[in-house]
Amino acid sequence: MPRTERIRNFSIIAHIDHGKSTLADRLLEITGAISERDMRDQVLDTMDLERERGITIKAQTVRIPYTSPDGREYILNLIDTPGHVDFSYEVSKSLDACEGALLLVDAAQGIEAQTLANSYLAVGAGLEIVPVLNKIDLPAADPETAAAEISGLLGIDTSQILLASAKTGEGVPEILEAIVERIPSPSGEANVALRALIFDSYYDQYRGVISSIRVVEGELRSGIRVKMMATGASHEAEEIGVLTPAMTPVKSIGPGEVGYLIAGIKDVSQAKVGDTVTLAENPASAPLPGYQEPKPMVFCGLYPIDGGDYPELRVSLEKLSLNDASFTYEPETSKALGFGFRCGFLGLLHMEIVKERLEREYGMALVTTAPTVEYRAVMRNGDTRVVRTPTDLPSSGELDAVEEPMVRATILTPSEYLGPVMELCQARRGEQERLEYLSQARVEIVYRLPLAEIVVDFFDALKSRTRGYASLDYEPAGHEAANLVRVDVLLAGDPVDAFSSIVHREKAYAYGKAMVSKLRELIPRQLFDIAIQAAIGGRVIARETVKAKRKDVLAKCYGGDVSRKRKLLERQKEGRKRMKQIGSVEVPQDAFISALRIDS
C-alpha cells in the first residue's frame, strides 16, 4: 500500500476535441504505464460509440506509476470524466474522487461553456486546478488570449498556465511535474470505518457489476463483506484491484487510493454512482455527502417496428439497464404504435446513445417518438399529475394550469454572434438573466429557458447560427406555469398519438403548419391520397395531402437486366420493412423524430 503522500488523484476537464484522449494517451506513453504493443489511439475510450463520437460516456480510470526527475516514485490516478452536459452528475462524482484537475483548453478555441461549468464544479469541490493550453503547435493557436480568458474566469495567474501539445508531446513532462507539485496528496485515516465513493459502475456479462471506487477513509480488503449505504445492498468483495489500465487484483485498498470492486452484483442499480461503500460488519455512521438518485429529464416512447419484437425489446431494455442506472423505462401503449416503453433519459445525447446501443448491440429495429419533458398538470380539484406523454395531458376543462420544467442555460459565444444567439433564445421563449463580456471577443449569456424548447434541436440551431463556435451548458431550474396546449396530428383522418406534442399556445398554429408540411415530405406517396392534419382539441388548424402515386414500375426488364433489377426491387422491399404501418398508412421509422426538426 503506497503512502498517501505519494498518491495524486486527478481528472482532466476538457471540451470535446480539445485533446483529452490524446493527452491521456501521451501520459501513459511517457510514463511507460502502457507498453507500445498495447498502445492504440484513445486507450481509455472503450465503447465503439465513444470512439466514433469522440466522446467519453463511461468514466475510465488508470493508475500511472511515475518517477519524477528527483527520483521520487508516485502513483498518479487519472480519473477520466464523461464529457457531456447530459452526464454532469457523473462528472461531479468523478471530481469528488480527485484532489485536482487538469483544465485542458484548446489554445486556438478558448474555453467552452461546459468546460467552464465543470471547472466551477471542480473549484466548488475544492480541487486544485492545473490549467493547460493544448495544441500550441497549431498555427491558429492563440495562447495569450486563451490564457487571459482562463485567468479572468477562474482567477488563476497566467504564470500558472502550462503550454503543451499532446500531439507532439511538447510540455507533457512539465504537466506531470505540475501534477505532483501542485495537486495535494489525499488525506484520510486508515483505522476508521470504511467509506469509499462509487464514481462509476458498469455491467460486465462475465463478472457482474464492476464499480470504480475511491477510498476516502478506512481500508477495503479482498473477501470482506461490504454494504452500499444508499441501497442497503450487502455483498462480498470478491475481487478488488487497480487499473493499470488492465484490471490487476490487489489484497487491499487504503485511504486516498483508487481502484475497482467486484462484489457479485448483478445490476448497476445496486451499486449506483455516488453511493458509499462501507463494511457490513463495521459500517460508517454516515455516507459521503452528495448522493443523488439519477433523474431523467427527457422522455420518449420506444416501439419495435414489428410488434412481434416487443418481448425482445423488453429483454434488451432489462439488459441495458443493468449497465445504465440513469435510464428508466415503463410499459406504454400507443394506439398508433402498439406496445412499447416510455423511457426516461438524462438528456438527448443519452437518449440517442441508448437507442443506438439497442439497435447495434441488441439488433432491434425501433421507432422513437418525439422527445418530451416532464410536465405537471395542476388539476381544478387541486391534484397534480405528472405528464410524460402528450396524450396524458388532461383536457382543458379539468386543468387549472400546466407547469413545465425550466433550465438555466449558459452560452459562451464569440461576440459577433451575440445577436443571432439572443434571437434564438428569444424565439425559444427564453428570458435573459445575465450577459457578460469575457473579453472583447467573447460573451457569456445566461438565459432561463423552458427545457422543452431546447431538447430537440436547440444545440444544432445554436451551432449553425454561430458557425459552430458557441457552446452550451444548462442546469435544471424548477417548474413554471405556461400556456400550453396539445397539438394532435391526424393521418388519413385518424389521430396518431405518437405525433402529438405539447406546445405553447402562441406557437401552436405555426407548429401545426410546419409539422404537417414536414410530414408531407417525409411520408412517401402510397396507393391512396393521404390527408395530414394538425388539430387542437378536435379543431383542425393545418392540412396537407400526400397525393397517391401513379407509377413506380421499371420501364424495361430484359434478360441481361434480371439480376440488377432484382437488386433494385429487393432494396425497395427492404426499405418497406423500415416503415411502420399506422392504420392504412406506411410511415418511415425516423419520421417521428425528423418531423420535429422544424427550422425555427
Binding site: R550, V553, V562, L569, Q572
Partner: protein, 383 residues
Amino acid sequence: MIATTPVHPDAPELADYCAGLFGIYVHVPFCTAKCGYCDFASFDGMSDLAGTYVEGLCQEVSKSGISSCDTVFVGGGTPTSLGPDLLGKLIAAIPRSDEAEVTVEANPESLTADVAIAAAAAGANRISIGMQSALPHVLKSLGRRHNFGAVAAAVDAARGAGIGRLNLDLIYGAPGEALADWRQSLDAAIALDPGHISAYSLTVEAGTKLWRQVRDGHCRAPDDDSQAEKMSVAAEILANAGYVRYEVSAWAKPGEACRHNLMYWGGGEYRGFGSGAHSHIGGTRFWNHRDPRSYLSDLGVLSAGSERITSEIEVFDRVSLGMRRAAGVSISELPRGCEGAIDFLSGAGLVLATDGRLRPTAKGFALGNEIVIRLLSVAGSEC
C-alpha cells in the same frame, strides 16, 4: 410451329408456351454514338474492332456446343452498324430451328436496303427499329441523330427485304416532350402499321450522360405523374388502333407478340453470346465481360460473373418478371400466404384474380413495383 402457337398477345397459353422456349441472345456492342440515356453495354469509337468481334463471337457460338434454339435476338448496341456482310455472317452463325423467331435490332439510319436484304437472307424474320419519337426536338433531346423520315425509310427497307414482322421502339418523357408531342409520336408510329410497338418510360440510369445532366441541374428527370399520364395515353391510343398490351411496355397485334421477350418474362432459359451478354441455363445466371476487348481476350470461356438461382430468387424472379405480363402469374405459383396481399392489391385496383391467374390491371401495369413488393413481402416467401 407458328400455326399451332397461340396468337393472342395476352393469352396465358402464349405466355406459358414461350416460357418453355430456348433462346439465344447475341450482343453487338458497337454504336455510331452513345445515346445520353443508354446504360447498355454499348460503345462508340470501337467499330474498327467489328470484324474481329464477329469472328470471335462465331467462335464462342461454335464452342458452346449449342445446336439449336427457338428464338434469336440480335441486340445492342446497334447490330445494323455492322453493315450487311458482317451482320449477315453473324446471323447465319446462330444455330436455330427452321421456325425460330429471329429478331434484329436496328437504328433507323443504319437499316439501309442492303443491310435489310443481307439480314433477311441470313434468316432474320423480325426487325425492331429504334424510332423513339417522331419529333425533331424530342429526338434531339434524346441525343438521337435520325429523323422521322429515316424511320419510314427503314420500315420500307425491312418490308422491301421481305421482313414483315416489325417493332417500333418509342420512348416517352424526354426533357421538353409535351403530352401532345407524345400523342403525335404514337400516331406517327401507328401510321407506319408495324405489328408491334414498345413504349418505354425514359429512365434516368445512374452513370449515363442524362444522369449527369440531371445531377448537375441542366435538365429535369421526368416526374412520375406526367409519365403515368403518358403511359395511360399510350395504352388508350394503342388499344384504339388494335394493339393488345401484353406487357408493361409492349403492345402487339394478334400473332405479333415477341416470343423472345415472353421467354425472358416467363423465366425461360437462354444463352447469351458476345460482350456483356447474360445467360440463364440450368438454374444459373452468368454473364460475359462487358468490355469488348476483355471479352475478346477469353471469348466467354470464363464468365465475368454468375449467380446461382436459389429457390428464393426463383420465386422473386417468377413474380417480378411474370407480373409484368398481361397474362400475369398462375395463383398456384405465387408465394404461399400471399392471399392478404392479393386481397389488398385487388381492393386497390392493381390486380384481377380470375381463372386461377393473377393479372395486373391498367393501373397495376404502372404500379408494378408495388405489386411485386407486396406479393413478396409475405412470411416465408416460398411456394
